[in-house]
């Protein structure tokens, strides 16, 4: 079971890094997407307004259901690594003002491809974690494992 837990915990670390990178990519995609939309609707170039619109761009849909599992409260250990990873992807974001619609579109497509990949990796990691936990649950149910051994 120690083995199982090690594998599960390694997967969890990976999953949390994927989840982090995924949300960063999604945020960038949605920000750039909103800029493109604004310009296509004749919006003028300018940063000031964008900051004010960030909350509506970044907010998720209203959510149902409560907390399902304990969450690590801080960033994944390798958070910095993914920051640079997404920076390399979209170094143009910091100069959104001076980017043409074509450049913005190209960035969005590049980011979206990455987002799909990371989401897939994340899904796969989640399947593995949930599979390993299902095995743990079986052992607890059978009595092969005792929860108090965790304390």
């Amino acid at each position: 079971t120690g083995d199982l837990r090690t594998r599960r915990d390694e997967c969890r670390e990976l999953e949390s890094e994927f989840s982090y990178a995924r949300r960063l990519l999604q945020g960038k995609i949605d920000i750039l997407g909103s800029e493109l939309k604004r310009r296509s609707e004749g919006g003028d170039v300018g940063m000031g307004d964008l900051v004010g619109r960030l909350p509506s761009i970044l907010a998720d849909e209203p959510r149902t259901g409560g907390a399902t599992r304990l969450l690590e409260s801080d960033l994944p250990a390798n958070a910095g690594k993914y920051r640079r990873y997404t920076e390399r992807l979209a170094t143009g974001l910091a100069h959104i003002e001076t980017s043409t619609p074509e450049e913005l579109t190209a960035m969005v497509e590049e980011l979206a491809t990455e987002e799909r990949k990371v989401s897939e990796d994340r899904r796969r990691a989640q399947k593995i974690i949930d599979g390993l936990n299902a095995e743990l649950v079986r052992r607890y149910q059978k009595g092969d494992e005792d929860p108090s051994s965790l304390l």
């Binding site: 999604q26 909350p55 209203p62 907390a67």
Partner: protein, 251 residues
Amino acid sequence: VLGPVDELWAEYKSTGSQKCRDELIVHYAPLVKYVAARVAIGLPSNVDQEDLASSGIIGLMEAVSKFEPERGFKFESYAAARIRGAIIDDLRALDWVPRSVRSQARQVEASLSKLQEKFGRSPTDEEMAEDMEVTVRKLRSIYSKISTVMFVSLDRLLSVGDKGESGMSLVDTLVDTKAEDPEQAVEAKEMKQFLVKAIAGLPDRERTAITLYYYEGLSLAEISQVVGVSQARISQMNAKSVMTFRSMLNR
């Protein structure tokens, strides 16, 4: 190798220009999405995600203006803590917890503390219901209500000392994170021992559920398969144990 973002930081810190500041905020804004979505988990649906996000953006603005690149710390972790802190501060200021839930929580805590004293152990729901003169069913529905408003403080419930956003959370002490300073390390160790004792003292099913939640990280669904009660019961047990630990700490 200095990337474009490092150059942006340098320009902002030397010129303090609004334009640079806005560019940095837009650049790091996705951090807010990550943090806000995670804080939103378990909050009642009447809490607007957009409000959480705008509190988060304010927190990010503060982080950008206060951050000192030369100090060598990672901006992301600094910013994430301020973003989360800003969201939670605004939630508290909203006074979003219904008065009825507040007073019921107080009654539960009073009864818990009294019966712990009396029995020298954690009381069962039956014992508490009797003491509070309600049905067990009613008591458990109170737990459910408490669990939705407790989420925000659950994570920081056992924050060691009053170190604010740098305080060790319950989760920190469980995952063995390296403490920033020796004093924190000692407190974390004591907190660990306290938790083990406190959890060991819970009634059987609660002990199992809480152990699996905090030490195995199982989901409510997975725990309910082991313990054989509904997911709703599990989160009720969680609310009760958090209040139990808190009242033990306050004694």
